[in-house]
Point group: C2
Chain length 423, copies 2
């Protein structure tokens, strides 16, 4: 046991050593070389589709043997269409503008010192994620494009798929005489490997966990390295008394039903009491037809008697399913108070034609994204025009909300003088 | 024991509840009100000088009873001059421009969604620090100015001084009908209070530890809340072969001797071998005269035979004293390699008239501040023109280097549509 433990530890330490060197090279690559490499990776992914699918099949066989859930197997499954989407994603990232080396600010001090703030890569980024293998290609491309070395630790159920995807990156990197460690993959399946890496604050500069809440909580608890994450997306739509009814129905329906299992889907609907009688029957019928379960408060059930009674735990709960909690509120401030109490500061929306109400809502709701007359489902890096997304943050520091390439950069100050000393 | 533990815990929970309410109020204060309040605080601090000094004396009596070191007692001691400096600092912060509510970016998507990114306060910031009571007034002002609620936990040796300073803030806040909790102070001396708070990630959004390395390591280990910090300042000056000799001597002397006990003082000097014979005797003599101990490598000692031999541990060591490690290097890249290996990514400087050398140095040295022909001592929020400084970060995320008011802000996305849904 002792010597086995030593083996994976020394493997990881060797990896970290290679990463240190790789990081210096990757951080200094020119924009054009990074772009060329990613375009080559896209080509190679396409060309190696069959090999990747073969490796993916190994994971699928194991998954069935282990009786994994259908949802999990679905997330794990690759097919030519999904690989094409991956290829497209890598191509998109290749074409984004390079976020590194930009002078974001420049000024001169009275003593003549010229100070500039220049964007630099963060360094080494550790991504801990669960079953979906497409995260591998997405995160590897985004980190590489921003001059960072990525350490990928996917779920063990996607081990062969991930390894095959990383092999494609490695092949292209080698062709450009870059170290393979520029895109690193944790090969050991040892459980403690993650904990071990989360303590290497000298070697790793940022951790991004992507997956369920329990994974994220575990990572935050163990890590001595900064973590960017969101635990939950408990998104609200508030339909104000001055809402346009048609828009309100479309937005609420879309926010709940377009993809109920994701973090920017609506979980609780708040409705102003003055509009509830007109609004709820229309929306309720539409949701009922499409198999959405509703849990409403007393006032909701006065209007929609067929609705199940909401329990205390239903507000602030992330259903990630065709289930919706509804509450009728007496005014705008009660809606805001509800969101402040039960929300997770991810994305919350107001539907209203009243500009003053919209202003109060956007000022007082302190969520990473606050929407006016738009579906919460838009809270997303692609939809915001970032070209890609490494994750969504509900933290208050560094990056908040959808996090694109800019979120993968840091900066340094360059100070130029001609002999200044401090007195 | 059990019921005593319960008492401080419930006190802290009550404080956190009050802070939640206070945070909503403080985050929405107008620029002019925040400015007026801070100017009133400055006045009140001045007016209450005698009371503050009286409370400070209690701490000093305790400190002497406990045989604290002279350095510690010095840091703890307040006098009218030091209080004036504090007053001046609060006044400066009052006059800085408000960092909140700024639209830092705005764009429209093809589907018509208008997205803007607006600066907001981080929320609740927990400052854990050691003996110097001036940190209390500085941090309280900076956090308040940026719409944040601060939780102050100073060293127990400064308990009475800190309490007196916080009381001044509370008095002014009350006059403006703001909750006292807007500037909060951890009153219990219970050791476990800090650990308890470091786990309240729902209530506290950022932790800034200020003090020695062991304090900071403890905070990072316990915290589930993001921490911004620097462990050490192992700053280097590299004197290139093309350095202006006079500037090099002035900068190296200033970087080491102007204030040896601070994080941006030089700890190791690197000298190009072609200039060592001309440079080292001049600097060496100056340092020797002023009582600075030098620890040099073989080549240094060939030129300065009176110098003590450097041991392995001397490079990369933070002396925080009149002690300097010197190493002669064969070229620029060796100097960079040395800094990459032994540095702490805080502040490193090159002295050279060669623009190409300066460029390579600023590109390859990935420290929060990289200086050309200037003393490392300039790496400081005031010197950079930020008006004040809450700390220096060697982290790669959020704020890096000297951290002023801007570092105390987050942002949110406001998305305005006219009924958009996602398809």
């Amino acid at each position: 046991m002792g010597s086995k433990a030593k083996k994976w530890e020394s493997e990881l330490l060797r990896m970290l050593g290679e990463i240190r060197e790789a990081s210096r090279e990757v951080s200094r690559l020119s924009s054009s070389v990074k772009k060329k490499i990613l375009l080559d990776v896209a080509l190679a992914l396409k060309k190696e589709t069959r090999r990747i699918l073969r490796e993916n099949r190994k994971d699928l066989v194991n998954a069935r043997e282990k009786n994994l859930s259908r949802a999990m197997i679905d997330r794990l499954t690759l097919n030519p269409k999904r690989i094409d989407a991956m290829v497209q994603c890598v191509r998109t990232v290749a074409g984004l503008s390079d976020p590194i080396g930009k002078v974001t600010s420049r000024w001169t001090r009275p003593n003549g010192l010229r100070i500039s703030r220049v964007s630099v890569p963060i360094g080494v980024i550790f991504i801990v994620y669960e079953s979906r293998p497409n995260v591998t290609a997405e995160c590897a491309s985004l980190c590489f494009k921003s001059g960072n070395v990525v350490i990928l630790r996917g779920g063990r159920e996607a081990y062969y798929s991930n390894q095959a995807l990383v092999a494609v990156f490695e092949k292209v990197l080698t062709r450009y005489r870059l170290p393979k460690a520029s895109v690193s993959f944790v090969r050991t399946l040892e459980h403690k490997a993650v904990d071990f890496l989360l303590k290497r604050e000298k070697d790793i500069h940022l951790v991004i966990p992507r997956g369920g809440e329990s994974l994220i909580r575990k990572v935050v608890k163990m890590s001595r390295i900064p973590v960017i994450k969101h635990y939950q997306g408990i998104c609200h739509v508030y339909v104000d008394r001055k809402a346009d009814l048609k828009k309100a129905v479309a937005i609420a329906y879309n926010a709940k039903m377009q993809r109920p299992g994701v973090c920017n889907a609506m979980e609780t609907l708040l409705v102003h009491r003055d509009i509830a009688k007109d609004f709820l029957p229309v929306l309720g019928e539409k949701l009922r037809e499409d198999g959405c379960e509703i849990r409403g408060d007393y006032w909701t059930r006065r209007i929609l008697p067929w609705v199940r009674s909401a329990q205390a735990g239903d507000y602030g709960h992330e259903f990630l399913d065709k289930v919706l909690a509804i509450r009728v509120v007496p005014d705008l401030l009660s809606a805001i108070r509800h969101i402040q109490t039960f929300g997770s500061a991810h994305t919350d929306a107001i539907v209203t034609q009243d500009r003053r109400a919209a202003q109060i809502f956007t000022e007082q709701v302190d969520s990473s994204s606050v929407m006016v007359n738009a579906s919460t489902r838009f809270s997303d890096g692609f939809e915001y025009g970032f070209g890609a997304e490494i994750g969504i943050s509900t933290d208050k520091i560094h990056a908040r909300g959808p996090m694109g390439l800019e979120g993968l950069t840091s900066y340094k100050y360059i100070v130029e003088g001609n002999g200044q000393i401090r007195t």
